[in-house]
Structures are given as structure tokens and as C-alpha cells.
């Protein structure tokens, strides 16, 4: 099998490989998607610690339940859906707030686990990114999640809705909210 092709476009080949529980296909997927998966989970969890465990568990789940991916749609939304479920389990195990809590009107606050700087502050490479780091850390996890899926993964609202199991208007509202918070940082900078 042309594995390089598998991860660049042919989702049916990926589905076939996962159905056959082909370790070589999983390895190619890990190499292709690992950094994006890490980034998504940092946005969802709002921290760096624990991400590696969730990443590993995600790929194990991909290996075990890869048969449920039918190859008819892009691989990324399916992968992030799997990762999201594991992230929720991870938070539940640590007795932290559910990712969906905000839908009940309860604020979703991921309390920092330590006094360490946020992963966003540590990862900022530009002046604008440094300004945005604080705003990002203050956002609800579902809002950060919508932002990373829309602007970093370039997913459609429908794809994001499928990943986060929410209707499109809810997804849109999260993106607007996130944009407003980030934009205020940019506007403040401009006013100075």
C-alpha cells in the first residue's frame, strides 16, 4: 500500500488500513497528525500536562475502534471526535468540569493545575500571540476548541458541529465569542 498517499488524501485507504488494524497505517497517521492532535488537546485541556497521556490513549482507541471510520469523510474530524471523548474522560477522572457544562449555564473553568505559565504563554512566538495568550487561557474550553477547529484546522461549521456534538448555531456562537475576546486584545494594542 502506498502509505504516503494514504495520509495525504485517500481516506478510503485509511479506513481500509484501520479495518485491517494495520500498525503501519497507524504509524503513518501518528507521524502525520501528531502535532495537530497535540495542539487540539492543548486548546481543549488548556494545559500541557496530561496531553501526552490523552494523545497515547487516543491512538490506542484509533487502533481498537478504527473500524468505525468509514473513509467517506475527512479523517481529522473523526480523529478529533475520538480525542475529545478521551479528553472528557481524562477530565472526569480528575474530577474536573465536563466540557459540556457550559450548556447548562454553568461556567466552564479549567482551573490551572499549578502556578506554571499557561501553555499559550509558553508557546507564543510573536508579540500578537503573547497578547492573545492571556485571553485564550481565560476562555472556556469549548470556545477555545471551536477556535482551533475553525481557524487552525480550517474545518467547516458542520464538521466542527460533528466533532463537538453541537448544532451549527451553537458552534457559530462559540466562534463569535472567542473572536470577540481575541479581537479585544488586538484593539487594545491598536489603541495604545
Amino acid at each position: 500500500m502506498a502509505l504516503a498517499d494514504t495520509v495525504t488524501g485517500d481516506t478510503r485507504e485509511i479506513a481500509r488500513g484501520l479495518r485491517a488494524r494495520d500498525v503501519a497505517v497507524v504509524q503513518m497517521l501518528v507521524e502525520e497528525y501528531q502535532d495537530r492532535l497535540v495542539r487540539y488537546l492543548v486548546y481543549v485541556l488548556g494545559r500541557r500536562d496530561g496531553v501526552d497521556d490523552v494523545v497515547q490513549e487516543t491512538w490506542l482507541r484509533v487502533m481498537e475502534r478504527g473500524r468505525s471510520y468509514d473513509g467517506r469523510s475527512r479523517f481529522e474530524p473523526w480523529l478529533f471526535t475520538v480525542a475529545r471523548h478521551i479528553a472528557i474522560d481524562f477530565l472526569r477522572r480528575r474530577r474536573e468540569v465536563s466540557l459540556d457544562a457550559e450548556e447548562d449555564g454553568r461556567p466552564l473553568v479549567m482551573a490551572p493545575v499549578s502556578d506554571m505559565p499557561s501553555p499559550f504563554a509558553l508557546a507564543a512566538r510573536t508579540e500578537d500571540a503573547e497578547r492573545l495568550a492571556a485571553a485564550l487561557q481565560g476562555l472556556q474550553a469549548v470556545t477555545r476548541e471551536a477556535l482551533v477547529l475553525r481557524f487552525m484546522e480550517d474545518m467547516s461549521l458542520q464538521e466542527i458541529g460533528a466533532v463537538v456534538n453541537a448544532p451549527v448555531p451553537t458552534v457559530s456562537a462559540r466562534i463569535y465569542r472567542g473572536l470577540a475576546a481575541l479581537r479585544s486584545q488586538m484593539e487594545e494594542k491598536h489603541e495604545r
Partner: protein, 157 residues
């Protein structure tokens, strides 16, 4: 320009960035920002915010891919071992049922054909066929333990 009109264009800008806007939204925004500095600044700040997101870089930690693949290979071996035990158990079940049917339906006829006592044929079938198959079948509940032992260790997470 009225505040409502600015708000309308800000919503169009948000919709366009979120991927919910229409081509008409984009066209109207493009025309409008040429003559409205407030909305132009709103659009510019929004674009800078989105671009700023790309200023964050997150990468897998050193050795993470290797750890993940080691765990994946281990899990694949466990799953393969489990499948082997399931197949073996199904074979054992079929053999047990088949042996019992042979004992009940064909044993007496076979005893007569070979000139052997019926009880001897029964004991022979029990000892050589039914009991070993049934013993194998009893291993089924111990499957997870055997799978883990076959791989030398348990789950990595």
C-alpha cells in the same frame, strides 16, 4: 453612520470569518470597509486575532511518537492474541458439541460396527474428544488473563 449599521457589518464580518457568511456578505463587507474606518478596524483586528492564533506552536514532546507506537504495537499484539483465543474457543465449542452428538447418535452404531462394548466407545470418546474440547472451552473465561500473560504484561495505560 448609525450604530445599527456598524453592528450589522460587524456581524457580517464575524459570519464571514466563522465560515457562516455568504458571498454577498463578503462582497458587502469589502465595499463597506473602503469607506468606513470603524468597520475596517474591526475587520483588521479580527484578522490580526486569527493570524495571532497561528503564532502559537505546539508540538509533540520528545519521544512521544515512539512511546505511542510502542503502546499501539503492544495493544495490536494483545488484540491479535485475544482473537486467537476467541477462535480457539469457538473451535472448542464446536468440537465439544460435535463430540457429544457423535457419542449420543453414532456411538452405539460404531460400537456394533467395530465389535466393541458401547461403554468403551463412550469412554474413549469422552477421554479423547469431548473432555479435551470441553477443557479448552473452559479456558474462555480466563481469556483476558491469558492474553495479557501471552504478551508478557498488561495495558500500558
Amino acid at each position: 453612520m448609525s450604530a445599527e449599521r456598524h453592528e450589522d457589518f460587524e456581524q457580517r464580518i464575524d459570519r464571514s470569518l466563522a465560515g457562516a457568511g455568504t458571498l454577498e456578505d463578503e462582497r458587502l463587507v469589502e465595499e463597506h470597509v473602503r469607506s468606513c474606518s470603524a468597520c475596517a478596524e474591526y475587520l483588521s483586528a479580527s484578522r490580526r486575532a486569527v493570524a495571532g492564533l497561528k503564532g502559537f506552536s505546539f508540538e509533540a514532546g520528545v519521544g512521544l511518537n515512539a512511546r505511542v507506537m510502542a503502546a499501539v504495537r503492544e495493544r495490536a499484539e494483545q488484540m491479535e492474541a485475544r482473537r486467537r483465543w476467541v477462535r480457539l474457543s469457538v473451535v472448542a465449542l464446536v468440537l465439544t458439541v460435535l463430540g457429544t452428538v457423535v457419542d449420543l447418535q453414532v456411538g452405539r452404531w460404531a460400537a456394533g460396527f467395530f465389535g466393541l462394548p458401547s461403554i468403551a466407545v463412550h469412554h474413549g470418546l469422552m477421554a479423547l474428544w469431548i473432555a479435551p474440547s470441553f477443557g479448552l472451552l473452559l479456558l474462555f473465561p480466563m481469556l483476558p488473563l491469558l492474553s495479557a500473560k501471552a504478551n508478557g504484561k498488561g495495558r500500558s495505560i
